[in-house]
Amino acid sequence: MYPFTYIKAKTNKDAIAAIGSNTNAKFIGGGTNIVDLMKMNIEKPHQLVDITSLDLKKIETLSNGNVKIGALVRNSDLAYHKTIAEKFPMLSKALLAGASAQLRNMATAGGNILQRTRCYYFYDTATPCNKREPGSGCSAIKGYNRMHAILGTSDKCIATHPSDMCVALSALDAIVHVEGINGERTINFLDFHLLPGDTPEKENVLQQGELITAIEIPSSSFAKNSTYLKVRDRASYEFALTSAAVALDIHNGTISNARIALGGVGTKPWRAKEAEQSLINKKATTENFSAAANVALKDAVTYKYNAFKPQLAKQTIISALQMIGGNNG
């Protein structure tokens, strides 16, 4: 790890000013991603601004019923929080399915959104990688790509976004609150992450030095009946091969509202809106769930070692929908 200077910010303003226009300065939250990447010499900041003392650790229900989560709320505290577990079970479940208890006690909500891909070539500085070194080439496209994405890929990068929490946040239409030198703004979660396109090194719409301050989740009629299902190579402590965050609003057996978002398959947390639409006014049956799963994966492009993923993702969607909508016909 290269040496760097360290300061602990006391207020949002201090933290933002400390980064300012310095592109070699970075925030550090729980450290579970950035410290790892710094050890591997993938991230090489000259200065770290520790934000863990900032007053961004509250979870509050707003007057309109929305829930606002401070950016420094730890993944464990968020998963355990009664309001979250009751109103948005898919979010609690997604968090509990991620990493380990130790890591969840360190990881923050803001850091989780900004965690970088687990593509092994991205981590291996001896191999070309367009995300790590723009223009150097992608080692995964013709390499060992079993864990890689099948939706939203480009000929420059096929890496997945590894977060479980973000899959739930995209299903829940979350809103990201950020603060920068020019003041505060909000970003719809679905617009927050970028597809790789020609610039896989650019992963989100944050501007230089912007601090994530909170994540807001709109109240909804469907989120209470929701779940998160994650499929991986071992039962725990592993990133997703496929995952699905789903919610259903069912009245007299008919679906009035649906949410489907996918993990492990997209280059960003993947919302499947067309598949959701296909369920509206339909009966909650396995046949209809299966048809929706087909819609969700219809644009999948596979590579040599991940051709199993579309089918696995479909089964994940169907099973998740059955968990909350019943196993009918």
């Binding site: 550090i28 464990s76 130790q102």
Partner: protein, 195 residues
């Protein structure tokens, strides 16, 4: 450039910061670079080598310590971030020379073979039992909004999945945790043999 000799003889060659850490109830004053992980600070600068370095990337749990009673991976964080917190390492689990019930149960149930993962397992399980008692759910709990779970083998395995054991002593580890959970209050005096 500030060249600082540390207690274990390693040299720091970047810019150092004064830092005071509270570990197992004792205060340690250090002068270290901000890039030193909490794990390296414990082992290489303070000489508390009970905490182990396995993967150094968050993937094995050998480096687990307690911060204000909660378990974290000390390899994945910077020591400078832990000023003002109460850190407990495996060296701090026994009280007045008496092993904790969990430590004793690990011995009785063969909760280890080579012992390399054991400090992490012990710290992790100590906090895990508290999490369970405080009604915190896990990925296998049937209802995340309920505080009623069974202290089942399935729950223990999921809750301990952040600690790998290359020797595969898992059966003994689960049994030891089950026993310590059911007799949490009994602290068993250790025998000299185990020291």
């Amino acid at each position: 450039m500030n060249i600082k000799q540390n207690p274990s003889g390693l040299q720091a060659n970047g810019f150092t910061l004064p830092l005071s850490l509270s570990i197992n109830g004792k205060q340690y004053d250090l002068n270290i670079e901000p890039r030193v992980s909490l794990l390296d600070a414990l082992r290489e600068y303070i000489g508390l080598t009970g905490t182990k370095k396995g993967c150094n990337q968050g993937a094995c749990g050998a480096c687990t310590v307690l911060v204000d009673g909660e378990r974290i991976n000390s390899c994945m964080t910077l020591a400078v971030q832990y000023q003002g917190k109460e850190i407990t390492t495996v060296e701090g689990l026994a009280e007045d020379g008496n092993l904790s019930a969990l430590q004793q149960a690990f011995i009785e149930h063969d909760g280890f073979q080579c012992g390399y993962c054991t400090p992490g397992q012990l710290c992790s399980a100590t906090a895990m039992i508290e999490e369970f008692k405080n009604g915190m759910p896990s990925a296998v709990s049937p209802d995340v909004a309920s505080e009623e779970f069974e202290f089942s083998e399935k729950e223990i395995k999921e809750r301990m999945s952040g600690n790998l054991c290359r020797c595969g002593a898992y059966v003994g580890i689960v049994e030891a945790i089950q026993e310590a959970f059911s007799n949490k209050e009994t602290t068993v005096a250790h025998e000299t043999f185990y020291l």
